[in-house]
């Protein structure tokens, strides 16, 4: 059966050209970049070249890019690092209520450590009002962390505005740009970003490698202690092939950004239209325009998301849901609840995230499959039965 992958927000397939670039650093150039002999120097040179590429993609200096093991590490390092370094200056930190768990749970951890956290709610369209953040700023606020684009509903946050508010108030601003990097042009200078997390596997790079941008002059404590790698700020022997892969994948994503985004948006819009035409009793989650071009998020009333995902899988379609059952907790996704959706509706969510390998040819199959599965589950649903009877 044909497999249609519609979960690019979860991860993407490694680009073949990227793999090719990485291969020599898997085995041939195995030298430790910290060693001074020839094969060590070659590894070092390759890493610094990768750093130059990444820096040029975000309009910053190469000395402001630090490679990490993933987006989660970058988020943890940024938040814990700012808190630890500034604990004498203040203990108040601000974030939004739709952050990825890598940020939210790190905030909750900081709360346990005695920091005060403010979680600012987003508006009903899944976008944060920068003025609401500004209102929460106190004398002892040391950090504002707001994600660039949301992983579930794709909404793009007013990062430049929040950045300028933070800068004006002399507060460090971190953004988790894991979903945005490679899809949206990012200029860290123009947007007043102090710290930014990215992850390679979201833009057709390898898993297990990420980066943290740290603006020159921003001081944060180290998360890892040990060797002197990454200008003494992140100890650990470098993941050389991963770093090469991250840089190459980012470079290719930027070079092809317009083409890919156009291609993806056409397919995304066609699927969205199809679903809206074929399936009644649905809710489209998140702002329709201020969102990533690859993202669709619907709630289908009267059904539950995990059952929907499993049945779509039978049809060869890989998608995801924010239902409680797929999140492994009792509550549906905090992002959908943040939009003000009641639990019973949030349980029936479907996220489709398209990619450059998505095809216009599959649109009809995707829409028909979803319509069939939704209908089948509704026929089984006592909620739907009650609803239909009430409608007469």
């Amino acid at each position: 059966m044909k497999q249609i992958y519609l979960d690019h927000a979860a991860t993407t397939q490694l680009d073949e050209a990227v793999l090719k670039k990485m291969m020599p650093y898997m085995r041939d150039y195995y030298g430790n970049p910290s060693s001074i002999y020839t094969i060590g120097r070659e590894s070092k040179r390759a890493i610094e070249e990768a750093r130059d590429i990444v820096a040029s993609c975000f309009n910053c200096k190469n000395s402001e890019i630090y490679f990490t093991s993933c987006g989660t590490e970058s988020d943890n390092w940024a938040i814990k690092g700012v808190c630890a370094f500034n604990k004498n200056k203040g203990k108040h930190i601000i974030t939004s209520n739709i952050e990825h768990h890598a940020v939210l749970d790190t905030f909750l951890y900081m709360k346990k450590q005695g920091y005060e956290i403010t979680v600012v709610p987003v508006e009903k369209n899944g976008i944060i009002d920068p003025l609401k953040i500004e209102k929460e700023i106190r004398k002892d606020t040391i950090l504002i962390s707001v994600m660039f684009a949301n992983n579930e509903i794709g909404t793009i946050q007013p990062i430049a505005e929040i950045g300028s508010i933070a800068r004006k108030n002399n507060i460090i601003f971190h953004t988790d740009a894991v979903q945005a990097a490679g899809t949206i042009p990012i200029d860290v200078k123009e947007m007043n970003i102090d710290l930014m997390s990215i992850s390679a596997h979201k833009f057709y790079g390898p898993k297990g490698v990420g980066a943290l941008y740290i603006r020159r002059g921003i001081m944060i404590d180290n998360l890892f202690h040990g060797g002197g790698q990454e200008r003494t700020r992140r100890a650990a022997t470098e993941n050389i092939s991963g770093i090469i892969g991250l840089a190459e994948a980012l470079k290719l994503s930027l070079e092809n950004m317009d083409y890919n985004n156009n291609h993806i948006k056409k397919i995304r819009d066609a699927v969205k239209r199809g679903i809206e035409q074929k399936i009644p009793y649905i809710i489209y989650n998140g702002d329709p325009s201020q969102r990533l071009v690859n993202n669709i998020n619907f709630c289908f009333r009267f059904i539950e998301g995990e059952a929907l995902i499993l049945m779509l899988d039978f049809k060869g379609i890989s998608a995801s849901s924010g239902s409680a059952c797929t999140s492994g907790s009792l509550d549906p996704s905090h992002v959908l609840l943040a939009l003000g959706l009641p639990h019973e509706i949030a349980h029936g969510s479907l996220r489709l995230t398209f990619g450059r390998d998505s095809s216009m040819e599959d649109v009809d199959y995707i829409v028909d499959s979803i319509a069939q599965v939704v209908d089948r589950l509704r026929q089984m649903s006592p909620l739907y039965e009650t609803f239909v009877k009430e409608q007469g």
């Binding site: 009267f302 059904i303 539950e304 998301g305 995990e306 059952a307 499993l310 049945m311 039978f314 239902s323 409680a324 059952c325 492994g328 009792l330 549906p332 009641p342 639990h343 019973e344 349980h347 026929q379 089984m380 649903s381 006592p382 909620l383 739907y384 039965e385």
Partner: protein
């Protein structure tokens, strides 16, 4: 994550739909928690002649409903009342720990339908704690 039996009962649920000539109906669960099970029965001479279900819920909720209806079909109501969530789980070759509550719901849905029947023929019923708001916080699930 799910056993083959669970996947089988989820993808080809037995006894699904409304039963036109049902003389007993039981519904348990809570939409807020993400599962509702409704069981329809046709009971004659103390025997469950026919049974069907409708379920709003995850894969495990649908599979446990399907299995529970299979296990009580043709049984006397006394036998059906002795059905435990454990028996439903065993028949499905187990459930992941976070899905145990689905089997509890299935047991309770069967009992709710039978109690509904007993009431309809004027029999006294001892109401259990079921009619779950229990799905999120039921001791049996732990």
């Amino acid at each position: 994550m799910y056993s083959n039996k669970v996947m089988d009962h989820f993808s080809n649920p037995r006894n699904v739909g409304e039963l036109a000539d049902a003389n007993a109906v039981g519904e348990v669960g809570n939409a807020k928690c993400g599962d509702i099970m409704k069981i329809y029965m046709k009971i004659e001479d103390n025997v469950i002649k026919n049974v069907s279900f409708k379920t709003f819920g995850c894969g495990a909720a649908i599979a446990t409903s399907s299995m529970a209806t299979e296990l009580v079909k043709g049984k006397s109501i006394e036998d059906a009342l002795s059905l435990t969530n454990k028996a439903v789980m065993e028949a499905l070759d187990g459930l992941p720990p976070v899905k145990v509550h689905c089997s509890v719901l299935a047991e309770e849905a069967i009992k709710a339908a039978i109690n509904n029947y007993k009431k309809s023929i004027g029999e006294q019923v001892t109401e259990d704690e079921y009619t779950c708001n229990s799905c999120c916080h039921n001791k049996k699930c732990e």
